[in-house]
Amino acid sequence: MSAVMPPFRAGRTVAVLALLAGAALLQGCAPIEPWVQPYERERLADPIMQLSRDTLAERHRDHVFTVREGARGATGVQGGGCGCN
């Protein structure tokens, strides 16, 4: 397996471009300004726009469903366990 050439030459340019684009995209997050300025976040600051409003109520509700359903997880509630089978 000595000095096996990639079967396509054009692939090299494409790969280089992809790498450059990738690096630029990663770093390019900076020149792309956050498009929602802090002074535009009034609506988002309202309690009605909170993903998680009342901790205890959510924990209880999550518990009721987790104990009766086979599905669990990704709810944003960090759980404790129980033997509620």
Binding site: Q27, P38, E42, A57, G70, A74
Partner: protein
């Protein structure tokens, strides 16, 4: 793109010096790429080298969660099970550096569910759970460490978790990573001590993104792993029409992925007669769960909320969950298999729920404190496809309701 032609840029690209030089060359290339990638990552995470110093010139620091207290009374009644109890939560920050939180949760359960009634007799027991947490803010990150201990007469569950959330991209994106580890001791009523144990691990990764001044979205993934005694010592499985103790695998591995969107839709109601001039919002979420027991579940939820004047806030939501059975689940197993369970939690079913909540702002002094009172009611319905109600011979279904009455205060 700038490409400088070098004397070696021929078809092979290899300098004639030989293998060792080629190795050195590829190592140098790798180093360059790793350095560039590392710089890029550091920039994105705002950990900033001195030159670039953070995103868009902001030295934004994240705030500790506000001081908070909650007191709740919760009631669940459905399918023969009644569970009720109080719960309290206190959160207080110290020296503006850390925020401590404690939660105490009591569940007094009176269980006359179909499993209990058909295979045993009604019982009551109380579960108590204490959670403690510490939150610490470091520049744009919030680190949360928690420990919780839950006790029932025949079960002890201890968990420990760490969650880190990091604001990036000018505060528009929040990335969170979390890990929880649980150790349970499993006992049986009427026996001394604990006959077995169970371990649980959860790894979480998520991101919340502000899309517009009105909308935000989030995506979360979680990997769950369990090991040990994962069944119930009281539950029987039905094999060949007879009841035998259930036998479930001693390991379980699952994944969950959830997408959520939440938006302020006040502008939709601006001209009309329904809540013009009030804030309205809606949310939608979808979770897909799958594990190596063969269970696949889709959960969909949507809701709408609006303010009524300055003091009242109303929420409404609808939830739908559909699950397909575990591989070794059977209502009445026709063959003898290593694992067998008739636990309807692992069967095929649909569950629906419809809920509403009203919140009243009892007191508010901006910047000082606010007190809110809430009451919520949620109706649930479970429809099992492959679990028979042995009392009637038909597929089992039940209705239930959740009631939550609580007070929340920020101070």
């Amino acid at each position: 793109m700038v490409v400088i032609k070098s004397p070696h840029a021929r078809s092979g690209g290899l300098p004639p010096e030989g293998a060792r030089a080629a190795d050195r060359q590829s190592r140098i290339r790798a180093r360059h790429l790793i350095r560039a990638a590392g710089k890029a990552l550091a920039r994105v995470l705002g950990l900033g080298s001195g030159l670039f110093g953070g995103m868009a010139g902001t030295a934004q620091a994240v705030d500790l969660p506000p001081d908070h207290a909650e007191a709740m009374l919760h009631v669940y009644d459905g399918g023969g099970v009644r569970a009720a109890g109080p719960a309290v939560l206190i959160r207080k920050s110290l020296f503006n550096k850390v925020s401590l939180s404690a939660t105490y949760y009591v569940d007094a359960v009176s269980n006359a569910s179909i499993d209990v009634v058909t295979t045993a007799s009604k019982y009551s027991e109380t579960r108590q759970q204490l959670d403690l947490g510490i939150d610490y803010a470091v520049r744009d990150s919030l680190i949360h460490v928690s420990a919780s201990s839950g006790k029932e007469p025949d079960y002890i569950a201890q968990t420990f978790g760490v969650d880190v959330s990091q604001e990036v991209f000018g505060g528009m994106t929040t990335v969170n990573l979390g890990f929880t580890e649980g150790h349970d001791a499993v006992g049986r009523k009427g026996e001394q001590g604990y006959f077995d144990h169970a371990e649980h691990w959860q790894y979480r990764l998520g991101a919340t993104q502000i899309l517009t001044p009105r909308w935000l979205a989030s995506a979360n993934v979680e990997a769950l792993a369990d090991e040990g005694y994962l069944g119930s010592p009281y539950r029987a499985a039905r094999v060949f029409g007879t009841l035998v103790p259930e036998n479930v695998p001693r390991t379980r591995s699952g994944r969950a992925i959830k997408f959520r969107a939440l938006g302020d839709i006040s502008d939709w109601f601006r001209g009309g007669s329904w809540g013009a001039g009030q804030r309205h919002s809606m949310h939608a979420e979808y979770r897909y769960y799958w594990d190596n027991w063969g269970i696949k579940a889709h959960t969909l939820e949507g809701g709408y909320s609006r303010y009524f004047g300055d003091k009242w806030l109303g929420d409404s939501w609808l939830r739908f969950n559909r699950q397909s059975a575990a591989l070794f689940y059977s209502d009445n197993a026709p063959v003898e298999t290593l694992y067998h369970t008739t636990n309807r939690q692992l069967g095929t079913f649909n569950s629906w729920s419809l809920g509403g909540r009203a919140t009243y702002e009892y007191a508010k002094v901006p910047g000082r404190y606010d007190i809110k009172l809430s009451g919520s009611l949620e109706y649930v319905r479970f429809d099992y496809q492959d679990f028979t109600d042995s009392r009637t011979g038909k597929p089992y279904a039940f209705n239930g309701a959740l009631l939550q009455l609580y007070l929340t205060a920020n101070f």
